[in-house]
Structure formats: structure tokens, C-alpha cells
């Protein structure tokens, strides 16, 4: 673990709060403590949001879960809907779903992954790739993309629309629809619905291939930056299919260490909480999960697109598999640890999702058949899926009346908590240490966090560029030593 997490003599240091969301969102911020020579002594990403779901869900009937729990996140609600549904399948004794139910759920999940990855890349991250790094701040945003690259902006809007339409057709609504029931799904697709979804699909596949090309070119133009920026060597965790293939909906847990060796493999996720524990730190509402056998210092890991591409043996659709090979070739036999490679991996999954949607739409099972199975009730259930941002764990226990007694969730972004902290410390150490405060330096911290596509970055960046306000405070006197303000138009000024 990086040594910048906690400094002993914090009272004597100057504090810098990078609070890009201070007056708008309040979901997260970064603080830096510096000594008088501008050496960074402590760097932390704080998550400032707390919901209390684990408590307030107690006493509610289990079948409400998929409807309530998806309202934790409007960006990937389907992932929560499905993780809860899978846990409930355990509760109602549905050991194995019918082919129709399983495939409809998979289709729904792929639609979700497609729309979420599209939003992150096109609406939030694309300016980093389309424009040079010294592009004016005021222009380095989605508005700039719409103005300079209207075709790409349009493709982004339509790719997202496509994913949302898959979700709407299956679940009735684009955001917070309902598709699952305990032990199955509530409907299959009609042929008209299937034909509608097939209409634009080839176009979507073509566009995703173009985006991947764009990504590869960006890496080739500036390999040093992409390889080393915010890069940390970490463990990786994800689900994989029984044959080692990439699978976003179901599988066993696989964890690799930074050299690519297996920590565990094909682990039944009903045992998740025997291998994953969480550490609490006083300065964040987000807990710090770790692999129990390695302990909190060595056991933290990364999840999400980069982890999944690193972990899987192959991708089961041809075009995406070809892209995976090219991507992994970068590492020359090693895992890819570059944090910015998350973006590239995410686009490979975008292609995989589109291809896999096509396969499923041509499968007659999605058009009808048995929808629900039931079995003997159980009192405990764990559901795990690979959400767009990574492995998502839901764990519930009910009493004999079917009311929830205990709930425990580890959401995707939480799994990356330590990693995001490590990445900002790497940036702080390597790019900021010993220097005067300037806009590009602080902006780099945001770029590092954004690569993980955490929900807090969605919150921050989906709203456009927040005014940024950085204060340097003398801890002793409390006086503001320096203050940098990024105005709404992107210009920076020193307020003192």
C-alpha cells in the first residue's frame, strides 16, 4: 500500500481540498496534505454520501427488494435489480431458471452494460481522447464534442438510446422498470419487439468498432502517458464462466494477483463473504473491501472492465475476442495494469455487449416458454453480477415470515475504493509532488478517478464541469494561504 494514506503529524501540514462537487453534488472529494516544501504527505478520496439501506430495508418483504434496491443507482439500476433477483432466487429455492428466464435476464443486463458504457465514454470521457491534453479547459467537455465532432456525439446518443430501448422493451421502463419476479421473469419478447431491436443493431456494432479504433489510436499516439499515468499494480476480481470466458451475468469468482497468478478460481459466489471482508476508515462512508486471506494491506483489488478483461481466458463473441487479443498483446504476457486502459477495456465490453445481444435476439428461447420456477424456501441468499463498474454483491437473510432481517451490499464502486485512493496517490507522488498548485495538476487527479467510472464521477461529470475550488489553509492559524478557483467557463484564477 502506498504510504500517503495517513500521515502522523497532520495538524502541522497544509490542507488542500479538491472538492469538484462542493456546491452541487456532495458525493465525494479529494484532500491533500502538504508540507512547507509542497511535498504531498497525505492524499485521500472521501466518499461523503450515506444512505443506510442495510438498515431501512429490514422488516420489508423480500419480494420488494428488486424494486427498492435499484433506486440506489439510476445509472445502473438493472444491475441492482438483477443482483437482488438472483439472491431472491436462492430464497425461493429456484436453483436453476428456465432457459427463457435466464436469457431474458441476460439480454436485459447486456442492454444495461451497453448504455452505461456508452454514457461513460461519450458523455464523460471522450473529450480526453478526442482533444489534446492541453486543450483549453472550457472546450474539453461534451459540448466541445458536440460542436467539433457532431457525428461522434450523435453516435453516443444513439448507442445509449439503443441500450435503453433493450431495457424498456424487457422491463417496461427505461429507468427503474421491473422485469424479474422471484424465480424468473414476468414476460418474454414478442416477435415484433425482437424485430424492432434487431433493426439498428448492426449499425451499433459498427460504431462500437470505430470507437475502439479511436481508443487504440489514442494509446499509440501517447504510449508513455497511457501506460504510466495513475497506474498501480493490483489484484483483480471478477466473475468468469465455467470455461473461463467473460460473463457479465453469472459464473464463479476468480481473483488474480498482480503477476497473473490465481488467488482463487471458480469460487461459488455463495461463499463470497468468506473470502471478501471490509475495512472501515473514519474518513469515508465508503468501506474498503479486501481478500481476507491476504489482509487489508495486500488484499485490495480492482474490479470492472479492466479486471474482467485481465481475468477472463477469452471473450465468447468473435469481434470482441479479436479486440481482446490485441489489447492483451500490449502487456506482452503480463496483465495490463495501466489505469487509463480501463477506457479501452470498457469499449471492448461495449462491443461484446452488442454482439451478445445479437446472438440472444436470434435465440428462439427469448420469444416464450416457461417463465418461472419455484422450490423450497430458504432463509439466506446471495446474488452476484458483473455490473458495468464491476462485481456487485447482494446478501440477504429473511425470517420465517419472509421479512428481511439482514442485508449486506458491496457495490461495484466500493470494490475499487482502495484502488482509486492508490491511483490518486500515485498521481500526487509522481506528478504533483513538490510543485505549485496549477489547474492541469489538479485536473489530473480527476482524470485518474474518472478512469474507474465510479458513480461519484458520473455524478460529477455528467453534470458538466463543476466549478473547482481549492484552498490551501495554514493549519496553525487557519488562514487561507492560497486559493485557486476554476470558474464555470473553465478559466482559472487565483483568488488571493
Amino acid at each position: 500500500m502506498n504510504t500517503l494514506e495517513t500521515v502522523a503529524e497532520s495538524e502541522t501540514l497544509q490542507r488542500i481540498a479538491i472538492d469538484p462537487i462542493s456546491r452541487v453534488e456532495g458525493h465525494g472529494k479529494v484532500t491533500l496534505l502538504l508540507d512547507e516544501n509542497h511535498h504531498i504527505r497525505q492524499a485521500r478520496l472521501h466518499i461523503v454520501e450515506f444512505r443506510g439501506f442495510e438498515k431501512f430495508i429490514q422488516g420489508r418483504p423480500y419480494w420488494e427488494l428488486p424494486i427498492v434496491v435499484q433506486r440506489l443507482c439510476g445509472i445502473c439500476p438493472v444491475s441492482h435489480h438483477l443482483a437482488a433477483a438472483k439472491a431472491i432466487d436462492q430464497l425461493v429455492g429456484a436453483r436453476e431458471l428456465t432457459p427463457t428466464a435466464e436469457k431474458i435476464r441476460r439480454l436485459l443486463h447486456l442492454g444495461q452494460t451497453l448504455q452505461s458504457h456508452a454514457v461513460h465514454f461519450f458523455h464523460l470521457a471522450s473529450p480526453d481522447f478526442l482533444f489534446d491534453f492541453d486543450d483549453p479547459v472550457a472546450h474539453r467537455n461534451i459540448a466541445g464534442v458536440m460542436a467539433d465532432y457532431p457525428d461522434i456525439a450523435r453516435q453516443g446518443v444513439l448507442l445509449r438510446k439503443y441500450g435503453q430501448e433493450v431495457i424498456r422493451v424487457i422491463s417496461g421502463k427505461r429507468v427503474h422498470g421491473v422485469a424479474t419476479v422471484p424465480g424468473g421473469v414476468n414476460k418474454a419478447l414478442t416477435t415484433a419487439e425482437r424485430d424492432y431491436l434487431l433493426t439498428d443493431l448492426d449499425q451499433m456494432i459498427e460504431w462500437t468498432q470505430e470507437v475502439i479504433k479511436l481508443m487504440r489510436q489514442a494509446f499509440e499516439r501517447n504510449p508513455a502517458y497511457f501506460t504510466y499515468f495513475a497506474t498501480i499494480r493490483s489484484n483483480y476480481l471478477s466473475l468468469v464462466r465455467a470455461d473461463g470466458a467473460l460473463d457479465l451475468y453469472h459464473g464463479g469468482l476468480r481473483a488474480k494477483n498482480r503477476r497473473g497468478g490465481m488467488i482463487f478460481d471458480h469460487l461459488d459466489y455463495q461463499r463470497s463473504f468468506q473470502v471478501i471482508h471490509e475495512q472501515v476508515k473514519s474518513w469515508s462512508y465508503m468501506k474498503f473491501p479486501f481478500i481476507h486471506s491476504l489482509g487489508p494491506d495486500k488484499g485490495w483489488y480492482r474490479v470492472g472492465p479492466l479486471a474482467r478483461i485481465n481475468n477472463c481466458d477469452f471473450i465468447p463473441t468473435p469481434l470482441a475476442e479479436e479486440e481482446r487479443r490485441q489489447f492483451m498483446a500490449m502487456g506482452q504476457g503480463q496483465l495490463i495494469h495501466a489505469t487509463l486502459a480501463y477506457h479501452w477495456a470498457r469499449m471492448i465490453e461495449l462491443l461484446y455487449s452488442a454482439e451478445a445481444i445479437k446472438e440472444l435476439l436470434h435465440d428462439p428461447d427469448i420469444l416464450g416458454g416457461e417463465l418461472v420456477v419455484r422450490g423450497e424456501m430458504a432463509q439466506e441468499g446471495i446474488g452476484v453480477v458483473e455490473a458495468p463498474r464491476g462485481t456487485l454483491f447482494h446478501h440477504y437473510r429473511i425470517n420465517e415470515d419472509g421479512l428481511i432481517e439482514k442485508a449486506n451490499l458491496i457495490v461495484s464502486t466500493t470494490n475499487n475504493n482502495q484502488a482509486m485512493n492508490e491511483s490518486i496517490r500515485q498521481v500526487a507522488e509522481r506528478y504533483l509532488d513538490g510543485k505549485e498548485l496549477t489547474e492541469p495538476l489538479l485536473n489530473q487527479i480527476e482524470v485518474a478517478v474518472r478512469a474507474y467510472d465510479p458513480c461519484l464521477s458520473c455524478a460529477t461529470h455528467a453534470l458538466g464541469q463543476m466549478p473547482l475550488y481549492v484552498e490551501l489553509v495554514d493549519e496553525e492559524s487557519g488562514a487561507i494561504v492560497d486559493c485557486l478557483v476554476r470558474d464555470a467557463d473553465g478559466t482559472f484564477r487565483n483568488r488571493l
Binding site: 462542493s22 456546491r23 452541487v24 453534488e25 456532495g26 472529494k29 484532500t31 472521501h46 466518499i47 461523503v48 450515506f50 444512505r51 443506510g52 442495510e54 438498515k55 431501512f56 427498492v68 433506486r71 443507482c73 439510476g74 445509472i75 439500476p77 454514457v119 458523455h123 467537455n141 461534451i142 459540448a143 466541445g144 458536440m146 450523435r154 446518443v157 444513439l158 445509449r160 438510446k161 435503453q164 421502463k173 427505461r174 429507468v175 427503474h176 471482508h277 471490509e278 475495512q279 472501515v280 476508515k281 473514519s282 474518513w283 469515508s284 462512508y285 439482514k406 449486506n408 458520473c458 455528467a462 453534470l463 458538466g464 464541469q465 466549478p467 470558474d487 464555470a488 467557463d489 473553465g490
Partner: protein, 178 residues
């Protein structure tokens, strides 16, 4: 005629209402022709300057939410409470059945597999309110747009009527609470 200025913001919500704005799809391009976005999912933010219309998602759950909400009210001529969380407190307000202490203890003290169990209390994280409140309990609201989230069609009808100065009239199928 100069464009009207619109700002949006998320308090204790899930961002689903903002996603519903993005669900306008191609109409987004029309919308940026009609209005200038101050803070929005689709263009760069301008100053939290004076706006014609402000749209708020989410209820009020911590001290920072209260501060942001008051800022918005002070800067917007028309303020819209969008979605169940802003209007009733929504799902986050389900914690109001319990004390804040009970909620925090469940997450950070009594959960399974926890190391260093403690309730986070650093000065860097904002103080939680003991209850989650709808936003009209804190500031005056001009319009309520229900739904969880309101559909893109409802948002479109609402905005186009508002911008053209017509009375707001959502159709039977657009006025929903789910």
C-alpha cells in the same frame, strides 16, 4: 431572443431523474438549441449564475444538501422539484423509520466481515441530518414533476410548455408516480 438558462442538480437522489433527461435522445440536440444549459448533463457548466429554470433531483439528507439547495433557490427564478426523492424524500427517506444511529451502526459496526468497525466521523465528511426531507420543506418550489423517474416524454412536455409560456398540462399517460 436570448435563450433561457436552465440548471439541474442532484441532491440525495439516485441520478435516475438525470438519466431520464438523457433519455430525451435526439431531442437533446433540439433542447440545446432552445435553452442554454448552466449545469446539465449535456454541456459544460457555467457559473452557478442566475438562471431562469432550476431542476432539482433528490431530497435533503445532509448539511451540504441544504446549503446547495438554498444556493439554487437564490439563483433560479423558477425552481422545479423533480421526481419522488425531491417531492417526498423517496427511497432514501425510508431511513426515517429508524434513528440515524441505528442506520450507521448497521452499516459500520454490526455488519458481517468488518475490520476496524467504527462510525466514520472525520471532519471531511458532511454531517448527516437525522431525517431525510423533501426539498419543499426547505425552500419554496414552483413546480412539482412527479415520477420515479418522470419519463423523458413527461420531461419534454413539461419543458416545452414551460419554455413557450403555456400552462403546464401533462396528459393522463404522462402523469405518473412510478
Amino acid at each position: 431572443m436570448s435563450k433561457l438558462k436552465v440548471a439541474t442538480c442532484s441532491l440525495a437522489g439516485c441520478f435516475g431523474c438525470h438519466m431520464s433527461i438523457l433519455d430525451l435522445d435526439e431531442r437533446l440536440f433540439t433542447l440545446v438549441d432552445l435553452v442554454e444549459f448552466d449545469r446539465s448533463p449535456i454541456t459544460d457548466v457555467k457559473q452557478i449564475g442566475y438562471c431562469d429554470v432550476g431542476i432539482i433531483e433528490g431530497g435533503v439528507a445532509n448539511a451540504e444538501n441544504v446549503h446547495v439547495l438554498r444556493e439554487f433557490r437564490a439563483h433560479c427564478k423558477i425552481l422545479i422539484s423533480m421526481g419522488a426523492c425531491a417531492i417526498t424524500g423517496g427511497v432514501p427517506a425510508m431511513r426515517n423509520r429508524f434513528t440515524l444511529k441505528e442506520c450507521l451502526e448497521e452499516s459500520y459496526i454490526s455488519g458481517a466481515g468488518l475490520v476496524d468497525a467504527q462510525i466514520p466521523n472525520d471532519p471531511e465528511i458532511p454531517l448527516l441530518l437525522s431525517q431525510v426531507h423533501p426539498i419543499h420543506e426547505v425552500v419554496k418550489i414552483d413546480y412539482f414533476l412527479p415520477g420515479c423517474p418522470p419519463s423523458a416524454d413527461a420531461i419534454w412536455t413539461f419543458l416545452t410548455q414551460l419554455l413557450s409560456g403555456q400552462p403546464i398540462a401533462l396528459s393522463y399517460t404522462q402523469l405518473h408516480y412510478d
